[in-house]
């Protein structure tokens, strides 16, 4: 068992998926044990792969191990089912396999009693298969296959309760929005293939580094690829699907829309980072700009959001934007570090929110409140998640976020850094607000409050494990910790773009971001603690701003308007054109012309013998003339 056998990681859940799909109904407990077992097996298999990689990683020039087989090949065209294990994939795999195992266990409690309980686990297993494949893919085609696969699972799971119109619509919206990005991704992939003649990520990168692409061509191609990442990672302007995706069951939100699938975009950009570096700097500037825009949009929208899951969803967008900014500063290390810890604390936040929803069957924050007494474990875990998200020392988020601020300060313009620090303040504001409204103060809905109860152990145990990780995962930044675990050092010496970097504590960044974070918390505390009167007054005073944020900058409205007035109208115009112009005018028209001319021409049939006779004679004369002319 080593890196060559990495194909087993997706193969085990794939087999479980096939079994569940065909026989799930007949298995005891609808086969949830099979799903969990398969994913746990995946995680178990991940450990020897990791150990193998750690043995190899120190070697000079190590750049991952490729294995796999041909899927389609003829002549020189070759599509591979190929897997590549390297540091980047390992970090991603750790998050995917571990978090999904925990979330599947959590789901046993959360989904209990649902009429489609078995189907939930079937779809989740398919998702894990696709996600692991995405991470391990050694070529862009397989990556695209898995990419679409996770998107499809996301569609299935957002629309899990598809009897609700809103869920069905949200699922559709998510799929189509990400699909728009995927159009770009596929174009980008084929553009890269067109010159390099291979889909292999490594060969494409080598081809680019050898100067195989012209700068404009490569920039265009990577920007198309980036479009895919924008869609999947809910970046501006394709971010609108993520908040709506909260219609899915909470474990789905935790796994797909926080820890794994949405970071696939970040992962993709990190994978292709050498191409971005070779390409025109404009490409990375675009990444930074989009990431930063997303950060600011989501942080502001989160302040006025009232649905507990939506707030967490905005915080996810916020985090994804941060990672994109890190990538814009071409720091794979910072992005991946944040991705790693984010997987834990964001899943934790969602699962905490899930426990709240499960316990109270409410998700509007204004109907909750004072839950800390009723659900102490959940409150504790949520607090850990919140602090990690805000980035308070020494929680994991602190280290990762500071790394990003640090690289941004090194590589990007000061204005970016300023915005980043401001976003940290905003993050602190909305996360604290969420916590205060949900867990402290007076219960606003007595009925819900009375019924509230702590989640069963099968749910709270995974939450606690994640809480512990959310506290400590950030220490991987330290070389000592990394070495103790068997890594060559901290994350900076494990995952990097060009050369390993030792961890250096960024004092200035840490202080400024901590100040912003604490300031934000204090601000939120002042506004929302207790009856939140001040917050209401502030909202009244800045009414337009409040409305702008509340209506999500009118993006959804604008898109809906565009769909209604441009897309659907365009469709109707084309359909009208087809029916009336092409068919009724062109087709039926030519048929009508034939009928009409036939009708007119029939009058030349007078029925009078002399006329016909004259015609015959004329014909004879003409034939005779022709004959004579030809003979002469």
């Amino acid at each position: 068992m080593g890196m060559d056998d990495a194909w087993l990681l997706p193969a085990v859940p794939a087999a479980a998926f096939a079994a569940l799909l065909l026989f799930g109904k007949y298995l005891p407990r609808k086969g949830d044990w099979l799903a969990i077992g398969a994913i746990a097996a995946s995680f178990a298999l991940f450990i020897p792969v990791l150990a193998d990689l750690l043995d190899e990683v120190g070697r000079e020039g190590f750049a991952g191990v490729v294995s796999g087989t041909d899927w389609v090949e003829f002549d020189t065209f070759n599509l591979r089912l190929g897997f590549m294990v390297d540091q980047l994939a390992i970090v991603m795999l750790a998050v995917v396999t571990f978090v999904s195992t925990l979330i599947e266990i959590y789901s046993v409690g959360y989904m209990k009693g649902d009429p489609r309980y078995g189907w939930f686990f079937t779809a989740m297993t398919l998702f894990v298969t696709a996600m692991i494949t995405l991470v391990l893919a050694d070529n862009l085609l397989l990556l695209y296959v898995a990419w679409e696969g996770v998107g499809f699972c996301s569609y299935l799971l957002i629309g899990f309760w598809h009897e609700r119109r809103s869920a069905a619509e949200a699922a559709k919206k998510a799929f189509i929005t990400t699909r728009i990005g995927d159009v770009g991704l596929l174009i980008g992939i084929i553009l890269l293939w067109r010159e390099a003649g291979t889909f292999s990520i490594r060969e494409i990168i080598e081809f680019a580094q050898d100067g195989g692409y012209s700068a404009e061509y490569l920039t265009t191609a990577v920007l198309f690829v980036f479009a895919g990442a924008v869609g999947k990672s809910a970046q501006f302007p394709l971010h609108v699907w993520l908040p709506d995706a909260m219609e899915g069951p909470t474990p789905v939100s935790a796994l797909i829309h926080a820890a794994t699938m949405v970071v696939a975009g970040v992962y993709l950009v990190a994978r292709m980072m050498p191409l971005f570096v070779v390409a025109d700097p404009v490409a990375l500037d675009v990444v930074t700009a989009i990431g930063l825009t997303t950060v600011m949009l989501s942080a502001t929208m989160a302040i006025v959001a009232t649905d507990i899951k939506r707030v967490v969803a905005y915080s996810t967008m916020n985090s994804l934007g941060l990672m994109m900014v890190a990538l814009g500063a071409h720091s794979v290390t910072a992005a991946l570090f944040y991705l790693f810890v984010h997987g834990f604390f964001k899943a934790l936040l969602f699962m905490g929110a899930g426990s709240v929803i499960h316990g109270t069957e409410r998700q509007e924050v204004w109907e909750l409140g004072g839950l800390a007494r009723k659900m102490p474990l959940t409150a504790l875990a949520f607090a850990v998640g919140t602090l990690a998200m805000i980035g308070i020392f020494p929680f994991s988020g602190f280290w990762a976020k500071d790394e990003i601020v640090n690289v941004a300060a090194d590589e990007l313009a000061w204005i970016v850094v300023a915005f980043l620090v401001f976003s940290i303040f905003l993050t602190a504001v909305y996360m604290t607000r969420l916590y205060l409204l949900v867990f402290t103060g007076r219960p606003r809905d007595d009925h819900a409050h009375e019924h509230a109860h702590e989640a069963p152990p099968v749910m709270s145990l995974p939450v606690l494990v994640l809480a512990a990780l959310a506290v400590i995962a950030g220490f991987w930044a330290f070389d000592q910790v990394g070495r103790a675990l068997g890594f060559p050092g901290g994350i900076g010496e494990f995952v990097f773009l060009d050369e390993a970097q030792e961890f250096a504590f960024p004092v200035v960044a840490a202080i400024s971001s901590s100040l912003a974070a604490v300031g934000g918390m204090a601000f939120a505390y002042a506004l929302w603690f207790g009856e939140a009167e001040q917050a209401r007054q502030l909202g009244e005073r800045f009414r337009p701003l409040y409305k702008l944020w509340k209506n999500r900058y009118y993006f959804d409205d604008a898109y809906q308007w565009a769909i209604n007035n441009l897309v659907l109208v365009g469709g109707n115009v084309i359909a009208w054109f087809d029916r009336n112009v092409v068919n009724d005018t062109g087709v039926d028209g030519s048929a009508g012309l034939a009928v009409f001319s036939g009708f007119q021409m029939k009058f030349s049939q007078t029925g009078r013998l002399p006329n016909y006779a004259l015609a015959i004679v004329m014909g004879v004369i003409i034939l005779a003339i022709v004959f004579l002319a030809v003979r002469v």
Partner: protein, 499 residues
Amino acid sequence: MDWAVFATIAVPAGTAGLLMAIPSRHRDVVRYVALMSGSSLFILSLIIFGKYQFDDGGYAFELQLDWLGNVAFLGEKGITYHLAVDGIAAPLVLLTGIVIFAGVFMSWNIEYRNKDFFILLFLMVGGVYGVFESVDLFFLFFFYELAVLPMYLLIAVWGSSTDFGTFVRTKEYGAMKLVLYLVAGSVLIFIAIFATFVEAGQGSFDLPVLGSVTYGENFQKTFFPFFMLGFGVLAGLWPFHTWSPDGHVAAPTAVSMLHAGVLMKLGAFGILRVGMSLFPEGAAFWAPVLMTLGVTGALYGAISAMAQRDLKYMVGYSSVSHMGYVLMGLATMNEIGINGAVLQMFAHGVMTALMFAMVGAIYDQAHARDMTIFGGLSRNMPRHASYWAVAGLSSLGLPGLAGFVAEFHIFVGTFQADYIWAGALGILAAAITATYILRMLAFAFFGPFNERWASLKEMRIGEQFGGAVLIFFIAFMGMWPMPFVDRIAATVSRLPGIT
């Protein structure tokens, strides 16, 4: 096994004859005879597909019987009954077997003159097999007509009219338009066949003989459009596509399945087998036009489908869209693209057959096809909904299902042939496909359950089985396309003028 190819034509013809002998009151006997014949065709097709040796991509199962020779303008091998299968035909033969097999199940409940229905259906199937397997232009044309003409009666007698409120599209209109269009196409084909025959001067209609001649460049440029348009009409070439939605909608379920699933492929197959293999230079000259029309069809069909409310019209327009991809693939003139085109023929065949089957299954019960009046049907008809979903997802190009493999090859081929704009628009059309498929699913199957349809039940077991066969092949090709690619690529690489 050389008899297998002959049998695929003899069995439908024999079935038609046998059915004529059965008194029409024995409806069940008719059904079982049809089922027997459909199953044997399915097995025969599997045998042909499986046994085809793809090493060199040449003709296999060859059978050549003299028919007319040394008469008038005909030479030694003037017109021969020459059957053979190559790597392009093999998947399409398999497709025909699959679709007729499933089609018999979908036609099980036809009560009105079901004997005559099956007679015509099997005549048509015999014609389809004949086109895929004929290597003699005369018989290819003969079978082509045989495949098209029964359609008129099938639609006009067993079809259904559509009321749009302000106007009605009658089944007679659909039938008439379809047949007139296709016959007009065959006129062009006929002219081009004779022109080729005369130009070649070999006194033979045999394709290998005709293919051994090099035609002048101007001749090729003049006569390739005849094949391109003539066969293209049947392949739904924009703007000669309007017979397709109206005809498919008017047709009964099994006929829609066969027509959209298989007959439209005859057109694309004809362009490839006759037009491009005889006139490579002509094809290269006209490829940009074909590419433009193909892309236009792909986008236009997808956008039109988005505006449809009638389920069957949506599927009809999606056929136009997907056949546009096939034409794009052909127009690339490179191996990847043409492989993709043939793959897409197969993929589109099974998935569109499945879609039409599902429309038929719901129409039989609800007598309605307007997607907006349904809602939440997945509660009572979960299998039906999931079959729809598989067909739809395949058509929007979800990896793991047949559509993706085919479309991906086409896009790659298009980019390789430097039609970057066309490839990008094609990918965009695939995204639009996602829009209308998901819109349909959301309207009809998801959302709150509409109590008006409380009486709807799950599909009959036969329909489920027929659909499952189609789904199996959709998934099979999506997961493991090599058996298809091997066969197709071996033959495509032998075509002249392919880069």
